[in-house]
Symmetry: none
Subunit: 188 residues, 4 copies
Amino acid sequence: MITDKKELIREAAVKVIAREGFYNTKTSKIAEEAGVAVGTIYNYFQSKDEILEYIFEVEFEKRINYLKKLDRKDLSIYEKLTMFIEKHFQEIKNNLDTAQILVREKEFPKTSDFSSILSYLNEIPSLLESMLEEAKEKGEIREQNPTITAGLIFGALQGVVEKSLRTNNLELLDSAEEEVINFFKKGI
Amino acid sequence: MITDKKELIREAAVKVIAREGFYNTKTSKIAEEAGVAVGTIYNYFQSKDEILEYIFEVEFEKRINYLKKLDRKDLSIYEKLTMFIEKHFQEIKNNLDTAQILVREKEFPKTSDFSSILSYLNEIPSLLESMLEEAKEKGEIREQNPTITAGLIFGALQGVVEKSLRTNNLELLDSAEEEVINFFKKGI
Amino acid sequence: MITDKKELIREAAVKVIAREGFYNTKTSKIAEEAGVAVGTIYNYFQSKDEILEYIFEVEFEKRINYLKKLDRKDLSIYEKLTMFIEKHFQEIKNNLDTAQILVREKEFPKTSDFSSILSYLNEIPSLLESMLEEAKEKGEIREQNPTITAGLIFGALQGVVEKSLRTNNLELLDSAEEEVINFFKKGI
Amino acid sequence: MITDKKELIREAAVKVIAREGFYNTKTSKIAEEAGVAVGTIYNYFQSKDEILEYIFEVEFEKRINYLKKLDRKDLSIYEKLTMFIEKHFQEIKNNLDTAQILVREKEFPKTSDFSSILSYLNEIPSLLESMLEEAKEKGEIREQNPTITAGLIFGALQGVVEKSLRTNNLELLDSAEEEVINFFKKGI
DNA sequence: GATGAATGAGTATTCATTCAT
DNA sequence: AATGAATGAATACTCATTCAT
C-alpha cells in the first residue's frame, strides 16, 4: 500500500533529520535508513522539502485534532490546558526524534511552499488563543492578552522540550509535565 | 580597523540571514549587502558558519553580561526577572533582524564547531536557574524545579518573539513586555 | 558497468592532463572529454587527486607485474633488463599521453593521500634493485651499489622519454629502445 | 639593493616550494618565509610563475656556464663528463631544496611564459649532446645516438637525485657521484 | 512501483594580484 | 620601496532530482 511506504519513509526521515538537522540531511541517507532507493522517495514525495512539511503536518494534526476536540467539550480552561499539555508531553515521550525536529527546524526554504507548516505553527497558538479568549470573557482567568499568553505557552513548551533534549536529560521530561501545568495555572 | 569591518559584515549578515534564513543565504549576498568583496568576508571570518556563530556570540553576551550583573545585585527575584525581561525586549526592539535569527536558527551543522553557540544557548537558562534556585531557598518563590522553570521562561520569551515576528505584529512586542512579566510573577 | 565508465573517465583524464598538466586541468574539461557530466566523475572517484592516483596505479601496475613475472624466471640480468625496457617502451608507444603524465607529474599535494603513487614510484626501482643485487652476487655484473644503479636506470628511462616528448620527436623513441638497452648492458 | 632582496625572496621561495610543491605554495608563505610583505614580492617578480622561472634560471645557468667552459677546454669526453657530474652533485649537496625543485617541478602553466625554463631544460642535454657528437666523431666513444645518450644521462642524474631525496637517504648522494661516473664511462 | 547511475546547476572558499597608504 | 587589506575570478565538489531500465 502506498500509505505504508510513505510512512516508512517519513519515519526514516524523522530519525535522520533529528540526528543531522534538515539541511544537513541527504536524501540518500533517508533512503538508506528506510531501506529503499532514493528514487522511491520521489514516488511518495515531490521534494525533500515536502518530507519536512509532512513530518510537521502529521505531528501537528495530532495536537490540533486533540485541541479541537477539547475545545468542544464543556471543561474549564484549567482542565483543557492540563489535558493539552498532558497530550503534548505524551506525544513527545512517544517520539523524541520528532520532538527534536518540531523544536529545531524553524528555517524554511523560501522557494518551497512551506505555507502549510506555517499555518500549523500558527494554528495551535490560535486555538489556544481562542480558548483563552473565551475563558477570559467568562471570567475564568484574569484580564490578559490571549495572543501573548498563547505564544508564551507554546514557546514555553518548546523551551522545556529543548532544554531536556539539549541536556539529554530525559527524566526532566517526566517531572516537567506537572511543573508546567502548575505554572500555567498560576500564570493565567 | 579590523573591528569596524568585521562589525560591518556582521550587520550585513544579520540583515540578509534574517530575511533569507542562514542556509538560504549566499556569502555573495552578504558581501553585496556589506558593500565588500566576497573575499573580504574571509579576511574576518573563517567560514560562513563562523558568521552565524559570531552573531549569536555578540547577542548572547549582552544578555549574559546583564544577567551576571543583575545576579550580583541585592534585588528580589521579581525585580531581577523584570529587569532581565525588560532588557531582553529592549534589545529585540532595537534589532528585530537579530531577534529573528536568534529565534529561528536552531539547526547547527554537526561538522562545524558550533559548540560556542550551544554553550550560549545553555548559559542563559543556567543563570536563570541559579537565580531561581537561590530565590527558592530564600522562600521568595514556591517549591519548584528551577531547571524546568528556567527552560520554560527562556522558551516562553522565544515563543512571544516568534509569534510577533511571524505575524509581523510589532505592536504585540510592546504590550508583551508587561504581560510576560506579569505572567512570570504569578507563575513562579 | 562500473568498470567501463571508470575506464572511460580515466582515459579522458589522461588525454586532458597530458595536454594541460594536472594542476591546470579542470574537472569540467575531463567530463567534457569523457562525454559525461561533472557529477559522474565523482561517482567513480573521490576527488580530482584520486584520478591522477589511479592513472599512476594502472600504469605502474603493468610494469610491476611484468617485472615480478620476469624476476621469477630463470634469465640473466641482461635478458631481464632487455625485456623490461622493451615492455616499457612498448607501453609508452601505445599510450604517449600516459607517458607524458608519468614523466611530468611529480608534484603531489601533501594534503591528499598520494602515498600510493609514491609507493609505486618506489616499487619499480626496488624491484630493479633486488634483481641487480642478485646479479651482483652471482657475479653477472661488476661490483656496484644496486640502489644507485636502479635509480639511475629508472631516471634514464624517464629522461629519454621526456626528451622525445619535449622535442616531439617520436622517431627518437624507436631508436631509443635499442640504444638504451645497449647502454645499460655496458654500464652495469 | 634590488638584487639582495630579489635573492632573499628567491631563497625563501626555494625553501617553501621544495617543501610544499609549486602549486601548493602560496605567495603569502613565500613572503612570510622571506620576512617581507606579499606586495614586496611583486616589486621584484611579475608573478608567482616568474619566481619558479627565476629559480630554474639561476640554477641552470650555473650548469650551463660550467658546461660551456668545459666544452672549450681540451679534455677527453670522459674528463668532461666526470667534471660535469662532479659539479652537478656538488651543487645539489650545496642546496638540496633547489635540487628537489629542479627534479620535481615539471608541470608548467600554459598561460605563462615558461619558454625560458623549457629552453634551459633543453640546453643542458643539447650541450651534452654536442660534446658526445664530437667525441663520437673523434672515435673516443662507440657509435651511438648522442641525443638519446644525452637525454639518458640527464634523466639518470635526476633519477639518482630523486631516489636520494625521496628515500631521504643523503648518504646515497655521496656514493652516487663515483658510481654514476663509473657507469657512464662504461656505458658510452 | 522500484531502482540507482547520471545529471549539472549551484556555492563556499581560495589565493594571486593590486593599489592606496 | 614596502605594506597588507581588499579584491573577485576561478573551480572543485555536492546533492536534489530525474528517468531509463
